[in-house]
């Protein structure tokens, strides 16, 4: 019990997640049924992968708008290549393409000193363009073998495979960020880039790595989506996912300034968004309202996090003002 209180103190977002679950369960009798839960998990895991990748980038102080396009590119690559080649090749090519997009983002940001939002806006546009060229802007059906669909449909011990994969990815990410030197350096770079640089951290390679991880995760999400829709499509796939992924991270308490946030937060944020869209479907609420509610939720979350900062700042300021004006006096008496 004490342990539970400690965990909730540390991660208040879990409480909010639980509160949402309870409210939705009360609002709709279907919400809590096992097959619906499975459905939520399956649905959320794709956004979850994208949000995980986004978390790495945000923690290091960046942002990645290109994930939706990368996701679309992955669906196209795997479906196009499966026309003639075994799907394993297509899967690897798609993952490789995701990493490549990430590395390009990272290089634009570090070597060419693009602002992250511009660098990834560039790739957001051009990667989707590439996907459209590959697919001729047509949806591609019927190229994937039936086995491939297991990526979305298989269940192990009652849990959908995508959710299991997402769970493993989240655990690995959390471990990596907390227990490896490189993971900590991501926080350090996001927290104070100059301090990290002066402490000998290779800031550039850290940043490039986070974008590469983000591109990889987006490609994984694309592969699952291709299995789920049994197709690849370049024009509309993944539109707006970057915003949902950023929202998931921010709702989970990640600061867009970098250096603050946890994987538990991002996973919770993802599940909140996933549960909400599921519940709204069940309740027959106009999907357009979902967008509005996500927007409001984001505003509430960010306001509550940043007001913590504000309160803290005011408090420390009051302390400083209360200190005697001699504070800051450089000279101690000589004798």
């Amino acid at each position: 019990m004490g342990r539970l209180i400690y965990v909730i103190r540390q991660y208040p977002i879990l409480l909010i997640l639980a509160a949402f679950a309870v409210v939705f369960a009360l609002a709709s009798p279907d919400f809590g049924r096992p097959d619906n839960i499975t459905n939520i998990l399956r649905q959320s895991s794709m956004l979850g992968f994208v949000a995980l990748g986004m978390s790495f980038v945000i923690l290091a102080g960046g942002i990645d708008l290109s994930v939706g396009s990368t996701l679309a590119l992955a669906t196209v690559i795997v479906t196009v290549m499966s026309r003639t080649l075994p799907p394993a090749l297509g899967i690897n090519a798609a993952l490789f393409a995701g990493v490549a997009v990430g590395v390009i983002n990272g290089v634009l940001v570090t070597r060419f000193r693009f602002q992250p939002i511009i660098a990834t806006l560039v790739t957001m546009a051009s990667v989707r363009g590439i996907a459209m060229v590959f697919s001729n802007s047509q949806a591609i059906f019927g190229t994937l073998p039936n086995d491939y669909f297991l990526l979305s449909d298989a269940e192990l011990a009652g849990l959908p495979l995508p959710a299991i994969l997402f769970g493993i990815a989240a655990l690995l990410s959390g471990f990596y960020l907390h227990f490896t030197r490189h993971g900590r350096e991501i926080y350090q770079v996001g927290g104070n880039e100059e301090a990290a640089r002066l402490a000998g951290v290779d800031v550039e390679s850290i940043k490039i790595t986070t974008y590469a991880i983000c591109g990889f995760m987006a490609a994984v999400a694309g592969l699952i989506l291709a299995a789920r829709t049994q197709s690849g499509e370049a024009v509309r796939t993944g539109l707006g996912w970057e915003l949902n992924a950023i929202a998931a991270a921010a709702i989970g308490g990640m600061s867009l300034m970098g250096g603050v946030g946890t994987i538990i937060g991002t996973v919770s944020g993802t599940l909140i968004i996933g549960m909400m869209s599921n519940a709204f479907n069940l309740l027959g609420i106009d999907p357009n309202w979902q967008r509005i509610v996500v927007g409001v939720l984001l505003a509430v979350a960010v306001a509550s996090y940043s007001n913590q900062d504000l309160l803290r700042a005011l408090r420390s300021r009051a302390n400083r003002a209360a200190a005697p004006p001699g504070a800051g006096a450089p000279g101690a008496p000589a004798e």
Binding site: P325, G328, A332
Partner: protein, 528 residues
């Protein structure tokens, strides 16, 4: 740790030879030879802009010199990155502490050197234990899991020291470590530094507080204008001789150019009266009158409150109490816009970030504050704008190819002239100039000061801040010394005396008559 005493007669711990570093337009360091002896505390002193920080950054690997070599115990080393310096056992504590506020004390102490377990993961347990040990050693009792942002400045500084100890550093460079500490915190810091020294740590102490040098250091190295001008054991120094080295007498000839007498009429009207102006904690009870045609110089150290004072007068910062009268009328300047309309203009200290918009053309920079006066229904009257700027630039001898040229492409001196042109074209008659000659070459300095004098002859009044007191002595009618936000001295034109002004600016009181042999210096009481 090296055995004490053995290296005294051998190679110094560190020897930098022929270090030069130039920035566009400025030679920050010129052929500097600098040695640090093992187990000593070396003071690196000099005025603002003397090159202290540049030298320090070169040794700590965050800047690479244009030329020169560094030897450690006689062996040549290359320091290209902060990591190289770290590997040599150098740690630097910058004035702006390099900590990560949102991370824990443990992680900050081991920043860049996280300990690993046998399988390569981060060993939080061991780091926590070692951090607790280090903090204990430094007499700091805080939870190692706390976020650094929750700590006070003094505690944060100790975290930086713990960081240096955790890497078993042998050289600790501290840049103005006392700048933001209260008196008791300074005392505590000094105790710790003494203890480090007793444990054979070599320390470089960058400061411009004389009492700290005499209290703590074994040797003082003085930099001026990017050159070493003095290197003495502390026993052979007096405060006077040290100040002399810092300020330099090379400019003695410049005194001839000094105005013979003040051109301000005794009964000139006070255009700006400041009474009991207070902004805590930076400014405390400041009062003075600025007369028509007068140039007042503000002398003081960094953090004395000079910049804060002019920013308050310009409405850029709020004042907490006190009043400002403009030509006898009470005014409240609550924004720079109001100040400009009242005829008060500021040329800020950092012209690149506050005074100019570097990537806009000259013409738009100059007309920025006044663009509304040149606008008609048909838009901005560009022709008038250009004409005015050409006449201004001719007067000020600004060199540029076109008024469409970006300000960022001009030299420092010319940029400063553009800042002034901006003020002149806004028709202000009270000029607040914050370090108008920093990073400006000698010729441009003259033009700037000539222009300032010319303005006052036309009836403007000027407050100028400079860290170079000779400059103030040359151009001002009156000099006011600030120390820790208070006025510690006011000198009329006839009473200008470099040493006295310098001492007052450093917060010392002089009881003997000016000019009397060795002035009796006593520490001024700290404000409480």
């Amino acid at each position: 740790m090296a055995p004490p005493g053995e290296n005294k007669t051998m190679e110094p711990f560190l020897r930098a030879e022929g270090i030069s570093k130039a920035y566009p337009g400025v030679k920050a360091l010129q052929n500097v030879d600098f040695t640090i002896n093992e187990g000593e505390i070396t003071a690196l002193v000099g005025e603002n802009g003397a090159g202290k920080s540049t030298l320090m950054k070169i040794i700590s690997g965050s800047l690479t010199p244009d030329s020169g070599v560094i030897r450690v115990r006689g062996e040549e080393v290359t320091i290209q990155t902060p990591r190289d310096a770290q590997a040599l056992g150098f740690s630097t504590i910058y004035q702006e502490l390099m900590l990560i506020p949102e991370l824990s004390v443990v992680e900050n102490v081991f920043l860049g050197n996280l300990l690993a377990t046998s399988v390569g993961t981060v060993d939080w347990g061991r780091m926590r234990r070692e951090t607790a040990k280090l903090l204990d050693q430094l007499g700091l009792s805080i939870d190692t899991g706390r976020h650094v942002r929750e700590l006070g400045v003094a505690e944060q500084q100790l975290i930086e020291i713990a960081k240096a100890l955790s890497t078993r550093s042998r050289l600790l460079i501290m840049d103005e470590p006392t700048a933001s500490l209260a008196t008791e915190e300074v005392t505590k810091l000094f105790e710790i530094i003494r203890e480090l020294k007793a444990n054979w740590m070599t320390i470089v102490f960058v400061t411009h507080h004389l009492n700290e040098i005499f209290e703590m250091c074994d040797r003082a190295v003085v930099l001026r204008d990017g050159r070493i001008v003095g290197d003495e054991r502390i026993e052979n120094l007096t405060e006077d001789s040290l100040i002399q080295m810092m300020v330099g007498r090379l400019l003695a000839g410049a005194h001839k150019e000094r105005r013979q007498k003040s051109t301000v009429a005794d009964d000139a009207e006070a255009v700006l009266s400041v009474r009991n102006l207070t902004r805590r904690p930076e400014l405390d009870d400041i009062s003075f009158d600025l007369k028509r045609g007068e140039i007042i110089g503000l002398a003081g150290l960094m953090g004395a409150g000079r910049t804060e004072l002019v920013r308050c007068l310009f409405g850029a910062d709020a004042i907490h109490s006190g009043e400002i009268k403009l030509r006898g009328e009470m005014i409240r300047v609550t924004s720079p816009g109001k100040a400009l309309r009242a005829g008060i203009g500021l040329a800020p200290e950092d012209r690149k970030t506050e005074g100019l918009i570097l990537n806009l053309p000259i013409v738009e920079n100059v007309s920025l504050p006044t663009v509304h006066t040149r606008t008609s229904l048909a838009g901005i009257k560009h022709r008038t704008e250009h004409r005015e700027i050409h006449s201004l630039s001719e007067r000020m001898n600004v060199k540029f190819q076109s008024v469409r040229q970006h300000v960022g492409s001009l030299s420092g001196g010319n940029q400063q002239k553009i800042v002034l042109a901006k003020l002149i074209s806004s028709n202000v008659d009270i000029y607040l100039l914050d370090e108008p000659t920093r990073g400006v070459d000698v010729g441009a300095k003259e033009v700037i000061y000539d222009l300032v004098r010319e303005l006052t002859l036309q009836g403007a009044a000027v407050i100028v801040i400079s860290s170079v007191i000779e400059e103030l002595v040359r151009v001002c009618d009156r000099i006011i010394c600030l120390h820790l936000g208070r006025v510690t001295g006011e000198f009329a034109h006839g009473d200008f005396d470099l040493d006295t002004i310098m001492l007052r600016a450093m917060g010392k009181k002089i009881t003997a008559a000016p000019g009397a042999p060795p002035p009796d210096i006593e520490q001024q009481a700290e404000p409480v």
